[in-house]
Amino acid sequence: MSRRNELIARLGAILPRESLIVDEVARRAYECDAFTMYRALPLVVTLPESVEQVRAIMALAAEMNVKVVPRGAGTSLSGGSMPLEDGILLGMSKFNRILEIDYENRCARVQPGVQNLAISKAVEAQGFYYAPDPSSQIACSIGGNVAENAGGVHCLKYGLTTNNILGLDVVLMGGDLIRLGGKHLDSEGYDLIGLMTGSEGLLGVVTEVTVRLLQRPPVARGLLLGFASVAAGARCVSAIIARGVIPAGLEMMDKATIHAVERFQPCGYPLDAQALVIVELDGTQAEVDHLVGVVQDIAREEGATTIRASTSEAERLQFWAGRKNAFPAVSCIAPDYLCMDGTIPRARLPEALAGMDRLAKEQGLSVANVFHAGDGNLHPLILYDASKEGDVERAEKLGFDILRLCVSLGGVLTGEHGVGVEKRDLMGEMFTEVDLAQQMRLKCAFDPEGRLNPGKVFPTLHRCAELGMMRVSGGKMPFPHLPRF
C-alpha cells in the first residue's frame, strides 16, 4: 500500500466519507486561495467538524510525518493557505457555529469557520458588533482573521484582530489542545494569543475563538474631501490626527481609483481631484457634529477643493460605496490586477506615490492606489494583462519593488495581508538573519519538525537543530570581548 493510500485509509477511520476529499477533480477546488498566481493540488483534503477530529488528524500527521496546511475561507491574498502536493489540506469550513453570545461580558465564543460579518449580524439587534472589518468580511472566516491578524477600515480607532480577541483554543501539531485566555482580559503567562494572531497558520490550528463585542456608536457621519494634490490630501490627514481627532475611518484614494470607481458605480466623487479623503466620525450626536465641524475647518485650511459632510445615513453609505467597490471597479479598467499591501509612515505618502509612479513606468505598467490613510497601510493595485507576454513577471517585479520602497521609507512588507508565499523572499529586506532565526526558533517551539504550513513566511527552511546551534551575533564571534588564551 502506498503511503498516500495508507494515509487516506487512516484518515477514513477518523472522518466520515463526506469529510474526506480524495478525488482529483474535487481536490482542484482547493488548489489555491485568493492569491491565484500560485497553485498546487493538495494530497488530500480533510474537512473535520469536531475538535477531536482535528486532534486526531494532527496526531496522525505527526505519526506519519505528513505536512498539514490549515485553511479557513480561502480568501488569503498572500497564498497563506496555498496547499502542498505532499500535504493534507485541513479545511475548517465545517466549524461554522457561533457557540455562545455573552452580552454581559461583551464577548462571543465562535468556531473558526464563522464568517467575520456573521458575528456582527448575530449581535446587531442588541446594538453590538465585532470591530475588525476586512474588505472580504462577507467571505473571510474568523479563524483566517486570527491567522493573518486581519484589519479593515476601522482599525485606527478600534484595532486589529489581535486587539479584539480574548481567547483561543489551539490544536498543536501532534494533537495537543491548549486553551489560551477566555472571557477575561490578558492571558496568564506569555501572551501566546498575541503570538498566534498573525502567525499565518504556522504554529497551530485554531479551533475556537472568543471575540470582544463592542457597542455600536449611536451616530456615524462621513465626509468627502477632495484635494488638488496627493501631498495636500496627506497633509490634511496628518492635520486631523494632530488636532487630536481619531476618526473611525480615514481612507484615501488616488485619481486613477476615483475615475475607475465613478465609471463602475457613480457615487458623486469629484473627478477634478488628484486625491480623495473619506473620513468617518462616530460617537454620540453632539460629539460627532462637533468633530465634523473640526474636520471641515481643517480641510478648508489645507485647501480642500471639495468638502461634503453626510447629512443622512444613506449619504454616508454612498460615500463608502465607492471605496468598498474600489477593487471591482479597478478590475474593470484592466484585465488583471495584483493587490499589494505595504505600510509606510503616513507622512512619507507623497514620496511613496512618486516613487511608485517611477517604478511603474520602468515596467511599463500603471498603478491605482487605495490607502488606509489613518494607519499608513497602502494597497497599490498593479494593473496588468496576464494574456500579454511578460506582463505577469513585470507585475510581480513591480510589486516587489514597491514593497522594497515601503521598507526603505520606514515601513513594512505587509500591513494586513500576511507574508504567505507571496512575500516570503522579501523577508530579508526587513530582517537580519539573526532576527529571522529567532522567529524560526519560535516556530520550532510549536512545531519542531516543521510540518505545519511549511514554505510560508520564511525564505529558507532550517532544521530546528541547526537553529539551536546558530550563534551568529551581527556577524561577530561569540563573546568577542572575552579574553581568549
Binding site: D102, E104, N105, R106, N149, G151, G159, L160, T162, N163, L177, I178, R179, L180, K183, H184, L185, D186, E188, G189, Y190, D191, G194, L195, Q215, P217, I241, G244, I246, T284, Q285, A286, H290, T343, P345, A347, G376, N377, G410, G411, V412, L413, T414, G415, V419, M427, M430, V434, D435, A437, Q439, L442, V457, G468, V472, S473, G474, P478, P480, H481
Partner: protein, 405 residues
C-alpha cells in the same frame, strides 16, 4: 533587584551582548532592573547579578502627527508622559505605577519595565494594555543576540508579532533595549459619575449595564464602602467619561437617565477629582495602604463578585478589596499568611475561569507559593519551549515567572 548582588550598567546593546554572553559562559543568571519599582514583583529567585538599564536613556523618535514614539528602555515613564503631555498626547494604556504598592510612593518606573510587565490601567477595557500599544522593539535575547521585531507603523503583520510576546514576559526572554509605541491624543476633558448606595453585586451589575450603553465609558470601577481614596460610607460604582466637553456632559446625563433607580444616589466628580480618583485606582490605592498580602485577579466581569464571595466564604481574612474593568479585575488584600491563601484564591478563580497573581508578599512567601497562576501541563511545556527559544540556558530572570525556568 531582589537582593543585594553586583549590578552591571548596560549602556548599549553591545554591553548587553557582552554581559549576557559572559553570564552564559559562567552559567550565571541575571536580573534585569530599570527603576526598581517592580523589584518585589514575581517569584523570589535570587540572581547572580543585575543588569541595569537606567543608562539606556533618550527618546529616539517622537512624531506626534504619526502617533509614534520610540525610546530606549531606561527612560523613566514620567519623562515620556511629560513629553507626550506637552503635545496633548498620552500612553492610552494608562500604565500602572507599582511604586505605591511596594514602597508607598509612586514614581521610578521605566518604559522598559512597564512593557516587561504588560502594564495596564483602568482604561484597559477600552484602550488595551501595553501589548496593544507596542509597535516594535529591539532587544538582546538570552542567547546574547541582537534582535528586532515589528516596526514604527500601526499595521504590520510581517513575521511573528514578538511585541505581544515580550509584553508580560518579565524579562525572562530578552533584555529590551528600545521600544516603539503607539501614542494617542489625550481626551479634552473627563468626569466621573458615582452611583452610590447599592449592594456590591448590584453595583457591579450596574457597571456591566453601563458598558452596554452607547455612552462609551473609559473606566468602570466598584469601591466598597470605606475604600480609599474616596472613603465613602457606602458602596460606589465609578464610571469615567472622557472626550470633548460637550460630549462628556451629554453622555453623563444620558447615563444617569439609563441607570437611575430607587435607593441610588448620583454624584459627579469634575476633571481634577476624577483624575485623582483614577490615578489612585490605577495604582491599587485601596489595597496598597493596607498591611497584608495583595492579590490581583483577572476574570470575566460578570464573575468578579462570585470569585470574591468564594474567597470570603472560605474564611480568608479580607482586609480590603475593589474591582476595576467593570468587575473583571479584582484587587484583594488578605491578612499575611505563609501560604498567602493561594489554594483558596486560586480555586475561587478557577471555578470561574481566569487567573490570579500574588502581587505583594514577602520574599519567603514568593519563593514557595506560585506567584503566577499555574498552567495545565501542555501549556507549561509549550511555555518552556518558548522560553528556550530565546534563552536556552535560562540566563535571564531564572525562576522569576516559573520555578522550573
Amino acid at each position: 533587584m531582589q537582593s543585594a548582588c553586583a549590578t552591571l550598567e548596560i549602556r548599549d546593546e553591545a554591553d548587553a551582548v557582552d554581559a549576557i554572553c559572559a553570564a552564559k559562559a559562567k552559567g550565571d543568571c541575571c536580573a534585569i532592573v530599570g527603576g526598581g519599582s517592580k523589584s518585589g514583583l514575581g517569584r523570589y529567585a535570587p540572581q547572580a547579578q543585575a543588569l541595569s538599564t537606567v543608562a539606556l536613556t533618550g527618546v529616539t523618535l517622537y512624531e506626534p502627527n504619526e502617533l509614534v514614539l520610540s525610546a530606549r528602555a531606561g527612560v523613566p515613564l514620567s519623562e515620556i508622559e511629560a513629553l507626550l503631555d506637552q503635545h496633548g498626547q498620552q500612553l492610552a494604556f494608562e500604565p500602572m505605577d507599582y511604586g505605591l504598592l511596594f514602597r508607598a510612593e509612586a514614581g521610578g518606573a521605566t518604559i522598559g519595565g512597564a512593557i516587561a510587565v504588560n502594564a495596564a490601567g483602568p482604561r484597559r477595557i477600552k484602550a488595551g494594555a501595553a501589548r496593544d500599544h507596542l509597535l516594535g522593539f529591539r532587544c538582546v535575547t538570552g542567547r546574547g543576540e541582537q534582535v528586532k521585531s515589528g516596526g514604527r507603523v500601526m499595521k504590520n503583520v510581517t513575521g511573528y508579532d514578538l511585541s505581544k510576546l515580550v509584553c508580560g514576559s518579565y524579562g525572562t526572554l530578552a533584555l529590551l533595549t528600545e521600544l516603539t509605541l503607539k501614542v494617542l491624543p489625550k481626551p479634552q476633558t473627563e468626569c466621573t459619575l458615582l452611583a452610590i448606595g447599592a449592594h456590591e453585586a448590584e453595583s457591579l451589575a450596574l457597571l456591566r449595564r453601563a458598558t452596554a450603553t452607547p455612552c462609551e465609558p473609559s473606566a468602570l470601577a466598584m469601591l466598597p464602602a470605606g475604600a480609599a481614596p474616596l472613603a465613602l460610607n457606602a458602596n460606589a460604582a465609578a464610571i469615567r467619561l472622557e472626550g470633548p466637553a460637550i460630549s462628556v456632559t451629554a453622555r453623563r446625563d444620558d447615563l444617569v437617565g439609563r441607570l437611575a433607580r430607587g435607593g441610588l444616589r448620583f454624584e459627579t466628580l469634575d476633571e481634577y477629582d476624577s483624575k485623582t480618583l483614577w490615578r489612585g485606582l490605577r495604582d491599587a490605592a485601596p489595597v496598597a495602604a493596607k498591611v497584608g498580602q495583595v492579590w490581583r485577579m483577572s476574570v470575566a466581569p460578570s464573575e468578579g463578585f462570585a470569585v470574591v464571595e468564594r474567597i470570603r466564604r472560605a474564611g480568608a481574612p479580607m482586609l480590603a478589596h475593589f474591582y476595576d474593568w467593570a468587575g473583571g479585575l479584582i484587587w484583594l488584600c488578605l491578612e499575611t499568611a505563609p501560604d498567602a491563601y493561594a489554594a483558596v484564591v486560586r480555586s475561587a478563580v478557577d471555578a470561574s475561569g481566569g487567573h490570579a497573581t500574588l502581587i505583594r508578599a514577602s520574599e519567603e512567601v514568593r519563593a514557595t507559593v506560585d506567584v503566577f497562576h499555574p498552567q495545565p501541563a501542555a501549556l507549561t511545556a509549550l511555555t518552556r519551549r518558548v522560553k528556550n527559544s530565546f534563552d536556552p540556558a535560562h540566563i535571564l530572570e531564572r525562576g522569576r515567572m516559573r520555578a522550573e525556568f
